[in-house]
Every structure is written in C-alpha cells, then in structure tokens.
C-alpha cells in the first residue's frame, strides 16, 4: 500500500496475553509474515492492538526517555453487558441472552448515528467482542489524531448514564433537551416496548415495578402505585406513566422528564470513558479468538444488525472443523497423483493452502474487506485532492 504512511505497520504496538496470564506489551513487527510467525510461535490467548508510536515499539527501551510517544490511534469504544446488570433481569455478569442482546443493538444504533452525524466520522468498524459486548473502532484520520482531551470530550458527549452502586437515579434531564438526546431517545423508543415492557418485564412484578417507580417523582409515584393496583398490563401501565409525565411537563420546571429518564436509564449505552480516552490504550484485535468462549471477534454488518445473533458467531473449533473438510473435487485429484508424493506433503502444509473462504468466516472477512476498501478510496480521494492543489501552484 504505497499511500500509507511509511513505517505505519512497523510502529504499531501489539500485545499478547500468553498462557498463565503472562502479558507482553510493546510487540511490533516489520512484516505480516513476521507477525504470523510470532503468533504461531507464542500461541497467545489474547491479541490486542495499540497505538502507532514514534519508534518501533519493540525498541522502545533504546529510545531516549521522553521521545518515545504514541502518535496516532483509532478512537475506540467498548460496551460491556455487565455495566447493565442493574437494569437487566434475564442475565447477569458474563452471561448474555437474546433478550438482553437488544441493549447492544440499541447502543450500536445510537452511537453509530452520533459518531457519523454529529461528529462527522465515516469509517466505523463495529466488532463483537466474543462474549458479552461490542467494540467500535473509529478509523478516520481525524479520529486517529485526536488528543486525549478530545477523546475524553467525545466520550463525555456520548455519556448519559452516570453513577454507580449508590446512585439510584442515573439519568437526569434538564431543559433544554439537546438534539443529541432527542435523537437517542428516538432510537430507544423504537425498541422499548418489546425490549423493556415484554422481554425484560420491567412493569410486571412488584420488585421490578418498584425499581422503575423509584425513578419518578414522589407524588407521581404514589398515584401510579394506586393506579397499578387496578391495571396489570405492562403496556397500559407504561401509558399511565407517560400520561403523568405529559401532565408534569405542562406545569413543572424540574424533574418533569421522568419518562424519558426511565427509558434512558434502562436502555441508553453505557460506555467506559477510560477505554476511549487513552491514546495508548490497547484493545482486542478484530478476528481474534475469545479465550473463554472460543468465539471469533467478528465485525458486525450494520445492515444486518437487527438479526445479528452472537450465538451464531463462529467459534475457533468450528473454523478448524470447516478447514479440515476436504475440498470439493479433492478426492479425485488425490487418486490421480501418486500416493507417494501425496504422503510426502505434510498435512499441515496442505492446510496452509486451504482457503478461509470455505469457512463461516468468509462473510465477515468480506465485510471487513469492504470496510478497508472504503478507507482506501478515501485516501485516494485525499491524495488526488492534494495533488490537484499542488498543480494549481
């Protein structure tokens, strides 16, 4: 790739997590081949990608102190399902199911829209983490060059749910409601009835109802508690709550947006600002294998977002199995060549030649290639523009 900056790959930091949790940072490679060989040799359990540095990371100890620094890194986001444990009833901790997976769908829709429409970024890659979350890699040049302060500002702009264990009410809205919040609410509202009222059942049982009502003003709470004695259907209960909110918004100046606050607290994306802030933070590499589940961290095609099933994502065993399957028509070939020659060739060698395209990874790699092509096109466009300007001189 001629139009890529010189030494880009060589100055990229990788980190490996080896057996027994041994963590090795500042790995770097001069060629793809070298990377492959090292992976085969070390057999890492986890592979993370870091920043592009001023010098080769594996030589950072030889560089004068203070001069070795991170120059560029993709802007990244990490959404982890465990951060929603206080608002999902189906699972907890590392578990996920198809019911709570909707939270990831909502998160991707909201953040993708904001990063594109509000911030103007174009090259976003969403990746399934392999177990309980998703990552976003923002690869625009402008994003890669953002300072720590800028990254943290972007992450804070995107944050609405604040507070930990001790905070009951984690979302508070005041006038005026920023367009970003309105847009995000529009997404949440699309999924809320099915996700929250049906699948998560937030307004059915006493305990969950109490949790929801703890988020509304006291006077409203009392009224609703009474109303709910006569009304058991979740959808109707929710309508009653909304009606109360409409009433409040006509009169009160504070605490009147509680219905929106409830929706956001239950559904709005929760991101870890610290992951996004750091210019030298390392994040799991796409297409790596999750050590606990064996699932591959595949990119998510947003066009098929609503039908994405984390449990259908290929595992490493599946891929191996698929690779081991004989090629169509290979049997005939074998019989034609001399058996001796065939036996000389290592089984391993043959495997090397086999195509990943015959595995379930094919469609994910294709999607990834399309993503890369789009980026390459934008460089070409940039180069053309620059050379045009030069010609003008």
């Amino acid at each position: 790739m001629e139009h890529v900056q010189k030494n880009y790959f060589q100055n990229r930091e990788f980190s490996f997590t080896l057996k027994d949790d041994i963590y090795v940072r500042y790995q770097s490679f001069t060629t793809q081949n070298e990377l492959e060989k090292e992976m085969q040799k070390m057999n890492p359990y986890k592979i993370d990608i870091g920043a592009i540095y001023s010098h080769r990371p594996n030589q950072h100890n030889t560089v004068k102190s203070g001069t070795f620094q991170a120059l560029e890194k993709e802007l990244v986001f990490d959404i982890d399902m465990t951060d929603y444990d206080d608002v999902r009833s189906c699972c907890s901790a590392a578990d996920i199911c198809c019911k709570c997976w909707t939270l990831m769908t909502i998160a991707i829709r909201i953040l993708d829209r904001a990063l594109r429409e509000d911030f103007g970024f174009q090259h976003l890659l969403w990746v399934y983490s392999g177990r309980r979350g998703v990552h976003c890699w923002v690869c625009d040049e402008a994003a890669r060059k953002l300072s720590v302060a800028a990254r943290s500002a972007v992450a804070e702009y995107l944050s609405l749910v604040k507070g930990g264990e001790e905070t009951v009410k984690k979302v508070v809205l005041t006038d005026p409601i920023h367009p970003f919040i309105r847009e995000s609410l529009a997404v949440v509202e699309r999924y809320f009835p099915k996700y929250a009222l049906q699948e998560q059942d937030i307004l059915s049982h006493r305990e969950s109802v109490d949790k929801v009502l703890s988020l509304v003003p006291e006077d409203v709470r009392k009224e609703l508690q009474q109303d709910f004695q006569n009304e058991k259907k979740p959808e109707t209960r929710w309508k009653l709550l909304r009606d109360q909110a409409t009433k409040k918004q006509a009169t009160a100046k504070k605490g009147q947006y509680f219905e929106k606050e409830v929706m956001l607290q239950y559904c709005y994306p929760r991101l870890d600002v610290n992951v996004s802030k750091g210019v030298n933070h390392l994040l799991k590499s796409p297409f790596s294998v999750h050590p606990k589940t064996g699932r591959i961290s595949v990119p998510i095609n947003l066009k098929e977002l609503d039908v994405f099933d984390p449990f259908a994502v290929p595992t490493i065993s599946l891929i191996c199995e698929e690779l081991d399957r004989p090629r169509a028509g290979e049997d005939e070939e074998k019989s034609e060549e001399s058996k001796d020659k065939e036996n000389e060739k290592d089984a391993a060698e043959r495997r090397k030649i086999r195509d990943y395209k015959r595995t379930s990874l094919a469609k994910y790699v294709k999607y990834f290639d399309q993503f890369l092509d789009a980026m390459a096109r934008s460089w070409k466009g940039e180069l053309l523009r620059k050379s045009d300007l030069q010609k003008e001189f």
Binding site: F119, L146, S147, A153, Y157, I177, H178, P179
Partner: protein, 514 residues
Amino acid sequence: MQFVSRQKKLLPNSQTELYGQCLQFYGQPPLENIALSEFETFAVERLKLLKTVENLGVSYVKLSEQYKKKLDQEFKNLNFPYRADADDRKSQSGPSEIEKRRKDHISHFILRLAYCQTEDLRRWFIQQEVDLFRYRFSSLSSKQKLEFLHKNNLQYDAISVEEKKALQDKLVNSSYAVSGITVEDQDFYKVPFQDALDLVRTRKVYLKAGYVYIPHQDIVTIVLNDFRTRLSKALALTARSLPAVHSDERLQPLLNHLSHAYVGQDYSIQKNVGKISLEQIDSLSGKSFPLCMRQLHQALRENHHLRHGGRMQYGLFLKGIGLSLEQALQFWRSEFIRGKVDADKFDKAYAYSIRHMFGKEGKRTDYTPYSCMKVILSNPPSQGDHHGCPFRHSDPELLKQKLQFYKVSPSGISQILELVKGMHYQLACQKYFELTHNIEDITFSLNHPNQYFVESQKVLGGGKDIKREMDTTQRLQEKSDKGSTAAREAAAAANVSQHLAEMTEELDSFFQDA
C-alpha cells in the same frame, strides 16, 4: 515561525497592509531593520504593559469597568494601539496609529525571544499575552471581529441566514443561553469540534458533522484558545532557533536582561548613606525587611555565613537601604568571624567581593540591588542556600511555618498561600507587607525589596531624616512617572543600558564559594 534575521529589506507598501488592523495574531515576524535602541525601548515598554495586565488581572475582574479604564490608560501612556477606531488622520501628538501598531508587532516578537527559554517564562508570557488579547478583541466591534477572523484564516465561517433558520430549533435546544432571539440577532459560526472541546464535553452546543455552531457572543473563548495554542507552539519553535539569535553579541545580554527585567526605580543611587546604624539592622529586619531579606539576615546571624547567592542578594539590599562600604565591611566581617572564618581569611577572600559590590574594584561599576523579578526568576537556591524569594522558592509547608513563626495570622497565611498557589509571588509579598504593618490596602505595586523597605519605613514613621529623604525620592519617582514620553523613554533606555552593563559585568565570576 522562525525568527528570520532582521537583515531583510523593508518591503514597500507592506506596512500599510501589515498594520491595516489594530489587532493581530502575530503570525508573521517583522521583516525590517531596526535600531538597537528602538529594539530595547519597544521591548521594555511592552514588558511594562504586560506587567500592568498582570497586576490589574489580579486586582480587578477581567474586562470589568475599572479594569478596562486602567488598562486603557496604560495603553495611552505607553503608546500602544488600543482603540480600533483610532484614526491616523486625526491629528494627535506623538506616534501615529501605524507606528503604534508597528511597535505592538515588533515588541511582541522581541519578548518572544526573551520569554521562550524556560517553562516559567513561557507560562507567564502566554498568560499575559492572552489576557491582553482578550481585552483588545473584546473592544472590537462585531464587524471588526468578523474581519479579524477572516484575515487570520480561522476556520470559523458564519452560517447563512437560511441555514440559521433551518437549524433554529436545534440551536435553541442545544444551549440554555441561546434563545430564538439570539438566533435571529446574532451570527452563528461553524467551528471544528476539536477547537471547542469544553462545549462539546458538556453538550452545551449544537454539533453537526464535526462542527459546533457557536453564537457570536461565545466566539471569544474559541479565539482565545486558538491564540493560546498558536503562541505556545510558536514559543517552542522560537526556543529552538535561539542559538542562532544568541550568536549575535548585541542581542544576548539584552535578551537575558529582558527576561529578568525590572522597569522601575533601581535604588542604585544611595540616598541615605550612613543614616542607618549597624545596631538597628536586627530590629529593622523584623519590621521593615521583606521576607526574603529577613530570612537571609536570620540565616546569617544563625550560621555566621552566607553563600555567594545570599551575599549578593542581601549585600546589595543593604547597600540599597543605605549602608556605607565601611559599615558593610564591618557588618559582614564581624559576623563571619563568629563562624569558621578568621579575620585574615575574611580580608583576603570576602572583603574584595564586598568592595566590588560597591564599585570599588574591578570595572568599578556600581552594582544595583536585585529587583523582585530578578530574585524570583534567576539563580534559584539549592541546598544550603538561603537566597531567592520565599514565596517562590520555599516549599509551601515551610513557608507556612515560617509565617506562623513570624506571627502572621492564620487567615493571613491562607491568603498568602492562595496567592502563592496562583504564582503571584510579589502580590503574596504585598499581602505579607499589609499583614505585618497592619494596613488594609497598600498603594504601591511591589517590585523591589528596597521599595518594600522604603515603603515600610514610611508607614512606620521612621527617623525624621530618613523620612525626608524618602519623601524626596518618592516625589522624584512620581515626577518621572508623569514625565513626557520622550523623557521616560530616555530614562528607560538609560536604565536598560546601565542594567546591560551590569549584566555583562556579572558574567565575570570572581566570587567562589568558600
């Protein structure tokens, strides 16, 4: 931005173009020949202006009525361009508007050379220049502000009326401060979000496709940040090209002097020689010495010795308050003898340096006592030293203990520590003056340890003789302040030359520590 050698020729018509605006971003360095004396004068006057900016910024709310009035006055006094509508055609005595703008331009770049060298200097310079810029930008009209933005390639375009209308709801809903009227009345600018991070972080602004939409009233913050960033980068670059500049022998001492420059009375002319007796020094040190000298005196008494830095700072101060050479020799000798130094050794090693201070040896230049700037910025103390400025160089905890020991009230101590935290060392000393003399607001701006002494003696009544002498000194100073520009410029230039000579002299290191 490389500071190009000033040997380039003056380009015709460039002046009118370059100085077409009252305010500038100082993007381009000056490209003309300039006389050395003008070089000095311009620099010193800008320094005075920046010092005023600093003092006013602490005493008044920035951009308040009082602040603006006083700063306006200083601009007038020092002949800097301050009002955008000042017309060259209006007949006025003194320099024309173009000349003022030229001075503004050149003086800024000269000070860059002097102030790029250390982190402290850079921070101070950037802070004052940003405040100065804020004041001048805020006095431009809306139209002029827009012109300024465009002329300086700030990527801040005002959006069209149609676009404003289309975005009206979004703009109003993005910020508490923006109403429908704001949208109608004011221009809105598109600014890249990286230039407005605080607004983005708190979601106080409308963001679309990587741009934030800011009303005219808020554009100042953005512009200021831009100015600050540019200046910071420029100073870093300037520091790198310094070796080339320093190789010009005419400039090096000048620039060194500027960064330690003191632009007031220098207490070199001894007015009260012999009026103070050695027996008075102990009590005077408690009553009328600034903290730095009190500290040095105490250390001298306790250890019967002071290292070179302390001897210079304290010795010259004592000269400034009126000790004669004979008194000084007696003072130091009697103290050192109590320590490890015998009479012979003193005469051999130390007496010479004291005579040198009084101009009786070597080049026979009369040394001037150190100003606060000099004490604060040069020769920081190391282990075993007692010189320097306690507000700058003492660990705050130790400073607190010292102030407690000197019986300053707890509330006074916290006020002082606040000022120290904000790096306003001279103001901390002023506060110390107020607390130890039991007065509310001092009328002078503290710049020199000897000034502290003089003012203190005034407050305490002093001896009749001393008082009369000081009144005369005071009146002379006031007179010179009100004097004509030319006279003051000449005086300033004379001061500068004297200081220059002194600086070059001090480069001889005669004095070795025992």
